[in-house]
Amino acid sequence: MADVLEKEEKAKELLIDKQPKEPLLSKKNRKLLNDPLNDNNPITVQVLGICSALAITVKLYPALVMSISVLFVMAAGNVIVSLMRNFIPNRIRIIVQLVVVASLVALVDQVLKAFVYDVSKELSVFVGLIITNCIIMGRLEAFALGNTVWKSFLDGIGNAFGYAWILLAVAFFRELLGSGTLFGFQVIPNAWYLANGGFYSNNGFMLLPPMALITVGIIIWVQRARNTKLIEE
């Protein structure tokens, strides 16, 4: 009996060895990258990471800086936690994850302070709040703890891009309608403004916090109207 079992095991090992190696960007892996952009978007579908997403979308530039920071923290955090996934005791995993993320965020914070001080001042506490950004914890918990390094890396990048495009879309509308600029450049012609004898004036309301929520609400509306399988019962 034992012999048979041994043989079976050996056969299994051989099978595993003989399986063709998965290409780096196989269909499954590409799905990891593409899904979070639409069908499984972290903000509009998974409802994660809204906390810091909305407060910094008054202008495009801070939103871009924030997206890049989140991209870095997500990719690196996912890779590190995935590397350690077999050594982390289950009971203290949240604390371990928090420490990994907090160290990465401290790094980002120092870099921002050194190179783009103005933006870092503008983002104020929201850089620190990347730590508790639910997307990061959520992906670590749901994905990196159970998957290989390369897959976790792709998942991190995919989700960060899903987060970034919503952030940039909200910031685009708020900056365009609220201050008439994009990335700080005047887009609405100056002659249109009331002060110069025109007919247009900026909608200052777009700059206020509640409008960020309503803009996201409308983005969700449009997305779900086009992608009907996302509609909630």
Binding site: V47, S52, Q110, G128, L129, I131, C134, G217, I231
Partner: protein, 205 residues
């Protein structure tokens, strides 16, 4: 005293964690389907904020800030450890949540059952870390101020989540456009509530 009351009211209404800063939105959206669970989570947040903000205040003023270590020896007067603040704050929050959970379990099992899974979740609630980071940014003078600020912010968060849960319970019976159902309408309603809360802006006592 008057200043404290002012700070308290400001923390609840004017600087409301949710409507002014969007902190703790994730759990706010995820756990607001029923009023009873919303009340449980709200109480847990008040609890943890009231404890962690003063603890982090002590940490900030006696360890992290530039020159804060001078009580140990004058030689440390120039040490600036503020780059460690994120890691220490989150560690304090995670361990405090763990401690609070154990204490509540021991002394009040009924409250523990009511709060249930919410307590451990709070460690990653942005409102908690946000409270500590705002405390750091605003340079409070004493520990009383920090405590009042933490308590007020907690109450503000509690009010917001209970209000949205009540609205969501009612909205189930309304005829919302299909793509807006659930998440979408909640965002828009929160935005409208935020506009209402903006009327508190600039109030001083």
């Amino acid at each position: 005293m008057q200043e404290l009351v002012n700070l308290f009211v400001k923390a609840i209404f004017v600087d409301n964690m949710i409507f002014a800063y969007f902190l703790g939105m994730c759990s706010y959206l995820a756990v607001s389907k029923k009023v009873s669970t919303a009340v449980g989570l709200g109480i847990a947040v008040i609890f943890v904020l009231t404890i962690t903000v003063p603890v982090n205040f002590l940490l900030e003023n006696y360890i992290l800030r530039e020159g804060a270590l001078s009580w140990l020896s004058p030689a440390f007067a120039e040490v600036d450890l503020s780059f460690l603040s994120f890691i220490l704050f989150i560690a304090v929050i995670a361990s405090m949540v763990q401690l609070v959970e154990m204490t509540v379990e021991k002394f009040s099992p009924s409250l523990y059952n009511a709060l249930g899974i919410f307590l451990p979740l709070i460690a990653v609630n942005c409102a908690i870390l946000g409270g500590s980071l705002f405390m750091q940014e605003r340079n409070f003078i004493g520990i009383t101020e920090a405590t009042v600020f933490g308590f007020g912010s907690g109450i503000g968060w509690f009010l917001a989540i209970v209000a949205i849960a009540a609205i969501r319970e009612k909205i189930q019976y309304s005829n919302v456009p299909a793509p807006l159902k659930g998440l979408g309408i909640t965002f828009i309603v929160t935005g409208l509530m935020g506009i209402a809360f903006m009327s508190f802006m600039g109030i001083k006592l």
